[in-house]
Amino acid sequence: MNKHKEKLGLKIPKNYFTESKENIINKYLNSTDKNYSFRFYQLSFAAIFIFTLIYFNYPFLERESISFETESPIISTILLNEEITEEQIIDFLTDQVVSDVFYMPK
């Protein structure tokens, strides 16, 4: 490219093309790094957003707390893995009736 100097008088700094090449390659490498990290943040944000959306919009995912009356012979036998007898059931129901009927307010 000497004709640019001879015929047009255009000069360039010493080692210009070597330094310029390094600059261009560095810019390229930086931009690819930025692209990857930008994509990582984009994907993370998208995942969190989708999870939040699902969590708040689908009530079936919510766990309902169920309370058991542990004194009930049916429940207690299930919990304790025992066999339920008619006697136990009758006792329980009689107790319930008695406590309902003879409830004395303070």
Partner: protein, 178 residues
């Protein structure tokens, strides 16, 4: 290296960096000189060259191979020069059919311009040409591009490019030999 092999390197994510380094090795100097003759100062040419390569990198995935990769790169560089010149002159677009009234001012302001008798003659003639005529002459005479390539780069009919070049060449030969 053949263009097909170079494109393969550029399209493959694993070898993209290698392909891009080759693009810089092969075309950096050629693109610089094309840009320098359009923007005139070294510092501006350096800025435009860097910007050109950023655009090449960003656009390489969309390159369909409808033209040679060198033509595609020259076209990006040419458009980047026009963008720079319009920003510099604070105009929406560069007037290509008139001469650049600031040509000599920009040239002599550059610390990397070292005039001699021949270059002064050349620049006197070049400064009188329209921007299009000057670009066509420079691309053919100094950058040694083919008429078809010049036509693809600047988007002007190939016959107009040929007639413009021969007209300018005749004028320059006449004035330099005087």
């Amino acid at each position: 290296m053949k263009e097909g092999a170079l494109l393969k390197l550029l399209k493959n994510p694993g070898s993209k960096s290698e392909g891009f380094t080759l693009l810089v090795d092969l075309y950096q100097e050629k693109l610089y000189w094309m840009i320098r003759k359009m923007v005139l100062s070294h510092d501006s040419a350096n800025d435009v060259l860097q910007e050109t390569y950023i655009r090449i990198f960003k656009g390489i995935d969309n390159f369909k191979g409808n033209s040679a990769i060198s033509t595609w790169m020259y076209r990006i560089a040419y458009n980047e020069c026009l963008r720079f010149l319009s920003k510099e002159s604070k105009l929406l677009r560069v007037e290509l059919d008139i001469s650049d009234s600031d040509y000599s001012k920009k040239l002599y302001a550059d610390s990397y311009f070292d005039p001699n008798e021949l270059s002064t003659k050349f620049h006197t003639i070049l400064s009188e040409l329209t921007v299009n005529q000057r670009n066509i002459f420079n691309m053919k005479y100094f950058d040694e591009l083919k008429f078809k390539e010049i036509s693809d780069i600047i988007g002007i009919n190939i016959n107009t490019i040929k007639s413009t070049y021969y007209l300018v060449e005749k004028k320059i030969k006449k004035e330099i030999n005087e």
